[in-house]
């Protein structure tokens, strides 16, 4: 549900008051609904190189209204700013200022997507400066946009081009309502691996996916989203949560596996269930996690150990089993749920942040191991998400927390699930070892 304040200031009297008083003006975000168009309105592609031309041509095949030149005062659904050929900082000026002239014509919930090259592989200091410059540009632009519009960037590593499968996959994700709560973020396309789905509405058709911690909240939303995208879903949670788990399993037409993931044999049990009951295993979503908050000065062994055991040690052990299994060799995908706490830190969450930072380290180090099988592993770091857990935060604290981002509202469990579903799809096959924040560009942290 959209929070009450957002509903109030989204129309009529409330909208008027918020404007006069300079109050935050969050809007109801455009979220993906099956059958809805990818973008509402024309898509303007700015940039002059061959990469931009190829990209514009690719977009035409998606039945989008693609423009290479802006028509003043015509509402735009998206601006794609292709900067892949920028060799010096000065090269940014022309396309960036051309795009700037169209910013006021962006429709509500519009999208800006930059496409640039990775600074790490730059041929020299000037090229690196131009490429890294896009980072600051994009993050600042995201903070400038209003009315639910977001700005995100695609970074191409050496070898990847503007029309590599995962560059197009990431572009589709950023343009769509699936990325509603992703703002000011970059995804790096490291290889030309991956492929576009045969059916854009069912990108996970034929896949078997396991979701841990699926009995409620974000995990249940992930299960629903993977099911909507065509996957057969195995939902996993601790035996004590079995009743909620059964409800989710029956809703998504999947199977329930009551299992404590910190058990020694959890990986084998997960693989066994998926293979015996559904014939294969393609996707594992490590979502299960617990919090045992306490200031470090007051931390005890039980709180510290339980969080480490469930949030990161279990994922490592299950991944070992997956990597060793012959059943996880056909373009396997792993997506882990990290947290902005693991990036930016959070008072009272040293144990949790250590575990979630650990997830990020694990994901980066596991990516090369999965590459051998055409697989990928990524993490999603949620910011403030409206769940049963955050609903228990005291009102004032919660109200501040949910406004402290560029979209001035909390995300929904489904927003996290959308990012995960994208990273679990073959369209994201060329993206691995990445951490994607789903935080509405939280003002805290990197």
């Amino acid at each position: 549900m959209t929070d009450k304040y957002t509903q109030f200031v989204s129309r009529g009297f409330g909208k008027d008051i918020a404007k006069r008083l300079g109050l935050p003006q969050p809007v109801v975000l455009r979220r993906h609904q099956p059958g809805e168009p990818l973008v509402r309105g024309p898509v303007l592609v700015q940039g002059s190189g061959g990469g931009a031309d190829e990209l514009a041509a690719a977009l035409l095949s998606w039945d989008l209204d693609v423009r290479r030149h802006a028509v003043p005062r015509e509402k735009l659904g998206a601006i794609i700013l292709v900067l892949d050929e920028a060799a010096r900082p000065e090269d940014l000026e022309k396309p960036v200022l051309a795009a700037a002239a169209s910013l006021r014509d962006l429709a509500a919930n519009a999208r800006v997507v930059t496409v640039s090259r990775a600074a790490a592989g730059a041929p020299g200091p000037a090229a690196a400066a131009a490429r890294q410059g896009v980072d600051g540009l994009l993050r600042s632009l995201a903070k400038e946009l209003r009315a639910g519009a977001t700005a995100n960037g695609i970074v191409l590593a050496d070898g990847a081009g503007t029309t590599s499968p995962s560059a197009l996959g990431a572009l589709r994700f950023f343009l769509s309502g699936r990325s509603a709560f992703v703002d000011g973020q970059f995804l790096t396309v490291s290889t030309t691996a991956g492929q576009q789905p045969a059916d854009a509405e069912k990108p996970l058709a034929g896949k078997v996916a396991v979701v841990t911690g699926a009995a409620r909240g974000i995990g249940a939303a992930i299960a629903r989203t993977l099911h909507r995208d065509g996957a057969t879903v195995v939902v996993v949670d601790i035996p004590a949560a079995g009743d909620h788990l059964a409800t989710v399993a029956n809703e998504v037409h999947g199977t329930a596996l009551q299992l404590d993931i910190s058990r020694e044999d959890a990986g084998a049990r997960i693989i066994g269930h998926a293979v015996e009951r559904h014939g294969r295993l393609d996707i594992v979503i490590h979502n299960a996690g617990i919090t045992r908050d306490k200031l470090l000065a007051n931390m005890d062994q039980g709180r510290w150990n339980s969080v480490i055991a469930v949030n990161i040690a279990a994922q490592l052990r299950i991944n070992e089993a997956l990597l060793a299994s012959e059943h996880f060799r056909d373009a396997p995908r792993i997506v882990s749920v990290a947290s902005t706490s693991g990036i930016a830190g959070n008072r009272g969450q040293t144990n949790y942040a250590a575990s979630k930072g650990g997830v990020i380290g694990m994901v980066r180090a596991t990516a090369p191991l999965l590459a051998a099988h055409g697989g990928s592993i990524n993490a999603v770091a949620p910011g403030f998400i409206e769940t049963e857990m955050t609903a228990r935060i005291p009102f004032a604290t919660r109200e501040v927390a949910r406004r402290l981002n560029s979209l001035q509202q909390g995300g929904r469990p489904g927003d996290v699930a959308e990012a995960i579903a994208f990273l679990a799809s073959d369209a994201a096959g060329g993206i691995s070892g990445e951490v994607l924040r789903v935080c509405g560009q939280n003002l805290v942290g990197a």
């Binding site: 059964a246 409800t247 029956n250 058990r263 559904h278």
Partner: protein, 452 residues
């Protein structure tokens, strides 16, 4: 099973004549139950239909049966509201199964659950259906309360009365005592004795000591607690209303604690009174389900085949005239079933003898060890034999788990099937388990399962 009862020819009877149809195997795919709750506890506000639906939905979730049209679902309850005449079908309609799944109710007292398994397994064996869900449920908390017999007659007459004077005349028959409700009880209609009082007589007759009963109760709690600790029930049980373990389980009970309890049944027996709340099952609420299938159906659905339902047998005793104890019918059914398959106790790897009371189990075991009883009452040459206690109720039974009457059969079948599957082969033959359940009315139903 009167048909089987008439043939005392032994092991080949099941094969029948040459004209008999080739029987398929009926396999146990798995089960699901909700934790059993002591009456007045977590499920006080849950109806039989609520609990049976929850148990079904957990089973559906475990095996991915959403929108599946199951061949037939059979379940039942012992304590049943008159409005629940179609209890099982209503539960199916409220579940995630296809609404095109037919269902029927069974009621055979505490044997209800096991009888649903046997009846449905027979249909599968005959090829009438390919899949089935057997189950049972009972709530002693949400028990039906009827109006008194006097009030009921007055209300029916009132309904038939046509004029005001007639109606007033009928109403004038109403007396204060008619307003007292008629609550259900576990008393036997023909003797007026409660089940516990009946068993107290049997317990005394077989000279079962207090210590032996307390030891059996202690083992039940210890075994059930150990099974929970080992995660044994992780794929047999789905939590319900905040309960994730049987609320009657006392993992910390000791023989000393059990020895300290006062007798509650057979108090008129004086020093011979041995039955306490600790070695008798409490009133319990709960539900259980078992998924049965033909081998082909299980394979086609990529489902496990834990055990086959080999055969079953029912028996009844004349407890009214005191010939046998109320709960002793399984003592007669088991030897008949074993004989039909040419088996002895040595061929059984797990004994699941329902613990209505510790005294029931021990009286039955004593009867089988008693040469006189086995010769005169069972028609055997000598004692049937001793049950190896190490094979008896190894993951706990009703004394610890509780006993929602009709739900006990499903609990035992699913538990035993899992144990048999894990055991696999014994001496080159499939592991075998014997189930024995006593029931009100002097009845008993027993069955044999084999590892698949």
């Amino acid at each position: 099973m009167p048909v089987n009862g008439t043939s005392s020819t032994g092991p080949t009877a099941a094969a029948g004549s040459a004209a008999a149809p080739q029987l398929r195997r009926a396999v146990v795919v798995g089960g699901n139950r909700i934790p059993f709750a002591r009456t007045g506890g977590a499920y006080t506000k849950s109806s039989n239909q609520d609990m049976l639906t929850a148990a079904l939905d957990g089973l559906i979730a475990r095996f991915g049966l959403q929108d599946e049209r199951i061949g037939e679902v059979a379940a039942g309850a012992v304590l049943k509201h008159s409005r629940d005449f179609n209890l099982t079908r209503e539960a199916v309609l409220g579940s995630a199964l296809s609404a095109e799944t037919p269902a029927y109710d069974v009621q055979q007292a505490c044997a209800t659950g096991l009888e649903t398994v046997l009846g449905l397994a027979n249909k599968i064996k005959l090829g009438q259906i390919d899949s089935a869900i057997a189950g049972g449920v009972d709530s002693a908390s949400d028990a039906p309360i009827a109006v008194s017999e006097g009030l009921r007659e007055i209300l029916l007459d009132l309904n038939r009365a046509k004029t005001l004077p007639q109606r007033l005349q009928v109403l004038s028959r109403l007396r204060p005592k008619d307003l007292a409700p008629d609550a259900p009880n576990t008393g036997e209609p023909r003797t007026g004795l409660s089940m516990g009082e009946h068993q107290a007589l049997t317990t005394a007759q077989w000279k079962i000591t207090r210590e032996a009963q307390d030891e059996l109760a202690y083992n039940s709690h210890r075994n059930l607690a150990a099974a929970y600790d080992a995660g044994f029930f992780d794929d047999l049980l789905t939590p319900y209303r905040g309960l994730s373990k049987d609320s009657n389980l006392r993992a910390d009970t000791t023989p000393e604690k059990l020895a300290g309890l006062k007798p509650v049944f057979g108090k008129n027996l004086g020093a011979a009174a041995t039955m306490t709340a600790g070695n008798s099952t409490p009133l319990t609420d709960g539900a259980s389900t078992v998924l049965l299938a033909s081998e082909d159906w299980a394979d086609a659905h990529d489902l496990p085949k834990l055990a086959t339902v080999l055969d079953g047998e029912a028996a009844a005793v004349d407890f009214v005239h005191g010939k046998d104890g109320l709960l002793m019918a399984p003592a007669f059914a088991v030897p008949r079933l074993l004989a039909r398959h040419g088996l002895s106790f040595a061929d059984i790897d797990f004994f699941e003898i329902h613990e209505a009371f510790a005294g029931t189990v021990l009286s039955t075991l004593a009867a089988w060890e008693d040469e006189e009883f086995c010769r005169t009452r069972l028609g055997l040459d000598g004692a049937l034999g001793s049950v190896d206690r190490a094979k008896l109720n190894v993951n706990g039974s009703s004394l610890a788990a509780g006993h929602p009457f009709a739900a006990t059969g499903g609990r035992i079948v699913a538990t035993l099937a899992k144990m048999l599957h894990a055991k696999g082969q014994v001496d080159g033959r499939p592991a075998r388990g014997l189930i024995s359940i006593c029931a009100a009315g002097g009845q008993g139903v027993v069955a044999i399962l084999e590892a698949h």
